[in-house]
């Protein structure tokens, strides 16, 4: 079975809303996909150096990162030799398989580590402007819909308007926000939030933090302290530390992942802004080098557009538009 047929099958067998969301979110890319894939196979009937070079460009243009791409291409070359693959269309499924495997080792690793009957604490970290507060708002809405009691902690006491932003989400979604004044100690906000969530018998506590660039030592130390305070109040807390990454970010995302992992022991990634043309391919490199799985993806502006990660769908989207670009390139040249 060739690649796009297999992919189409896998999409059509998944009829739940998650798949629909993915389809909509990645619609910028999907329409052209089948045609583009056909073209690639037309252009490259055989698996040769040119084919791999083109593939290298495709992956690099999706921000996967030079090191990972080189390794991946080597592996694919070996695979092609091993399986004696000569025909371009026969290597397509190998590529997609490999990428999906690399991203997701098992289907349930995208699941959030929830504590049934107890308070689940989720800490959100990341650099400035990636969408931490927005992701928290959306997730709060979803938990609320599931009938859970949610509390949000306004831990970004630094950026102007950040507390107000979370409060507005609180009003919109109907969830309590624990806050202090702007400029106060975020660790103290967390302490308050835990007490408040406990007394309200909440199921989920979502903790916002100020965006910070990963090379600011003092700010990273502050974040470690926030995490320590949560752990002191509830053993095992935070149950998830989610690093929010902007899909438009390039190679610097690796440096972000490393630094935040060191400071807060990140347990998963939220990949936001995937509804644009950016592919966020760096998550492949991050998974490959640091073994941090993607848990949630932001596929749009709507409240329900934060979705569990699905590797197959993602890989599909990763290729589509770039192939379209390659297509127009070829026409131009």
């Amino acid at each position: 079975m060739n690649f796009f047929k297999k992919l189409k099958d896998s999409i059509s067998t998944q009829t739940d809303t998650v798949t629909d969301k993915f389809k909509d979110g990645l619609s910028k890319t999907r329409d052209s996909f089948v045609g583009a894939m056909n073209d690639l196979m037309k252009d490259y009937r055989t698996v040769d150096e040119d084919f791999f070079e083109e593939l290298e460009d495709i992956l690099i243009s999706a921000d996967v990162g030079v090191h990972t791409v080189m390794d991946l291409i080597e592996q694919l070359k070996d695979e092609a030799r091993l399986r004696n693959i000569k025909d371009a269309k026969d290597i397509q499924p190998v590529i997609s398989e490999k990428l999906a495997e690399m991203l997701q080792k098992s289907a349930n690793e995208a699941a959030i580590n929830e504590q049934p009957g107890e308070l689940t604490v989720i800490l959100f970290v990341g650099v400035n402007g990636v969408g931490k507060t927005t992701s928290i708002g959306k997730l709060a809405h979803q938990y609320k819909e599931e009938g859970k009691k949610v509390v949000m902690a306004a831990g970004d006491t630094f950026r102007a308007g950040a507390i107000e932003q979370l409060e507005k989400w609180g009003e919109r979604v109907g969830v309590d926000v624990v806050k202090q004044q702007a400029g106060s100690d975020p660790a103290a906000v967390m302490y308050d939030a835990i007490q408040s969530a406990r007394s309200k018998k909440a199921d989920v506590l979502l903790c916002d933090t100020a965006g910070r660039l990963q090379n600011k030592v003092n700010l990273m130390n502050e974040l470690s302290k926030v995490k320590r305070v949560l752990g002191r109040e509830i053993p095992d807390a935070p149950h998830e530390v989610l690093l929010v990454l902007d899909a438009t970010t390039g190679q610097n995302a690796m440096s972000q992942a490393k630094a935040f992992q060191e400071a807060t022991d990140v347990s998963g990634i939220v990949l936001t802004k995937l509804d644009g043309t950016a592919k966020g391919g760096i998550v492949l490199a991050i998974r490959y080098e640091l073994d941090i799985p993607v848990k949630l993806v932001g596929l749009g502006e709507g409240m329900n557009d934060l979705q569990p990660f699905d590797a197959t769908q993602y890989v599909h989207g990763l290729f589509a538009e770039v192939l379209e670009q390659t297509d127009t390139d070829d026409e131009n040249s």
Binding site: A160, G161, A182, N215, G250, N252, M254, A278, D329
Partner: protein, 449 residues
């Protein structure tokens, strides 16, 4: 380390070339491969890289590099020059309207840092040019975006124009300009909502604002950490809004910032400002040549090389080299070299130019202190001529005298002696290795660098 500077990258290729005498076209090809990887790792768009490499290669093969005795440096120089050229050569200023107020409109993706930049730009205009800006809150979509701008306005003690979040951004922009005219404010800076470049409805809205207030500057705010997609974003905003410039934000991070090149390449508008910190004064005019070095991860090597070359006397350097080989380097020679380093400029400035130094952990917090150099100089100057020629003369009593004479302590004197000794040993080893290697440039024999 994922990010290696271009220099380290070229090191391997250069090693292979050593002893070959002449650089071949194949060597250049290999070096170009390294340049390509360095640029891709710095997030320069792959298509832009392709074109760039083609240009550089042409220049490199065309004699510039082939005839050079230092092909590695030459390649870096060509790459650096081409990169600076690509990025717009020199600094570009903000345009001003003939009749105030000058209208500046900020556009960009979500989270690029538009609102923060509006505050910083207003502060910059007031501080550097003594202007009176009005901030206009036209982001009615993101929760609390208006609060954010109002808070910034309060912090900076500057007026913020808002009509709440129920009035259309077009109307807000129009009214803001009107208000500025009435109040004799000479700048209006319009904060717009972040939007995806593929969101046609919202892009249309920006066009309407533009038509309504005809801004003198339409600035695209771009996150310096943006990857390959920067070209799509910039192209789209530019096609629909005819940008006049770019602001690059979050440059205080450790990103290489290759997006700067991508954006410049597709929009052909200058990058005007760079955001370099969280505080309201952390905005500065953009320097293309500094950015070129940053992208290549090599510090300002060019300036360093130039400085070294203008300050080092070639003949003296050769003599010194001979002394090093025969291991009779004295404290007088040391003193002379110290003088040369001092002539090159303050130490911390030199350090900043060193490749990789900026990235070293904790390096930023180290205050390199020219006083230390002064101490060393004082110690050496407190020695007698005989002592400088033959440090083994220095016994405890002589050391005490030197410490007293130089206003330092005996441990400090001891430390210097030990360092000098180690330096001599190291130099002997180095010159031993280099014996018989033929030509060697005597330019950079600064032991303590």
């Amino acid at each position: 380390m994922a990010f290696e500077g271009l220099q380290e990258r070229l090191q391997g290729t250069l090693k292979k070339m050593k002893g070959k005498g002449k650089v071949t076209e194949q060597d250049v090809k290999e070096m170009m491969r390294e340049v390509r990887l360095a640029l891709l790792e710095a997030d320069v768009n792959f298509k832009v890289v392709k074109k760039f490499i083609a240009d550089v290669k042409e220049r490199a093969v065309g004699q510039d590099v082939l005839d050079s005795l230092t092909p590695g440096q030459q390649v870096i120089k060509v790459v650096n020059e081409e990169l600076t050229k690509l990025m717009g050569g020199e600094q570009s200023k903000l345009q001003a309207a003939q009749k105030p107020p000058t209208v500046v409109m900020m556009v960009g993706l979500q989270g690029a840092g538009k609102t923060t930049t509006v505050g910083k730009l207003a502060n910059y205009l007031r501080k550097e040019h003594n202007r009176k800006p009005l901030l206009a809150a036209a982001d009615i979509y993101r929760p609390a975006a208006i609060d954010q701008l109002q808070t910034l306005g309060k912090q900076l003690d500057m007026p913020v124009f808002s009509l709440g979040d129920q009035v259309s951004p077009v109307e807000i922009a129009k009214q803001a300009v009107k208000q500025a005219k009435e109040d004799h404010q000479d700048y209006v800076i319009i904060d717009t909502a972040g939007r995806l470049h593929v969101d046609q409805e919202l892009m249309d809205e920006l066009q309407q604002i533009k038509e309504a207030v005809s801004p003198d500057e339409t600035l695209l705010v771009v996150d310096a950490m943006t990857g390959q997609d920067a070209v799509n974003v910039a192209e789209s905003f530019n096609n629909q809004l005819d940008l006049t410039g770019v602001v690059l934000t979050k440059l205080d991070g450790d990103t290489r910032g290759g997006a700067a090149i991508s954006v410049k390449a597709v929009t052909d508008t200058p990058i005007k400002f760079a955001g370099i910190g969280e505080k309201s004064d952390a905005l500065e005019p953009f320097h293309p040549e500094r950015m070129a070095s940053r992208i290549l991860g090599m510090g300002d090597v060019m300036t360093l090389i130039e400085k070294a070359q203008t300050n080092v006397d070639e003949d003296r350097a050769k003599e010194l080299e001979k002394k090093m080989r025969t291991n009779d380097l004295t404290f007088d020679d040391f003193l002379e070299q110290l003088g040369q380093v001092k002539e090159m400029g303050p130490l911390d400035e030199l350090l900043e130019m060193m490749p990789g130094a900026g990235k070293m952990k904790g390096m930023k917090n180290i205050q390199v202190d020219d006083k230390q150099l002064a101490h060393i100089e004082a110690i050496v100057r407190s020695m007698t001529k005989a002592e400088r020629d033959n440090p083994s003369l220095l016994n405890a009593s002589r050391k005490r005298r030197i410490a007293k004479g130089s206003g330092t302590t005996v441990p400090e004197v001891n430390r210097l002696l030990k360092q000098f000794d180690e330096m001599k040993k190291m130099m002997k080893q180095m010159s031993g290795q280099q014996k018989g290697k033929g030509k060697k440039k005597g330019g950079m024999n600064m032991p303590f660098m």
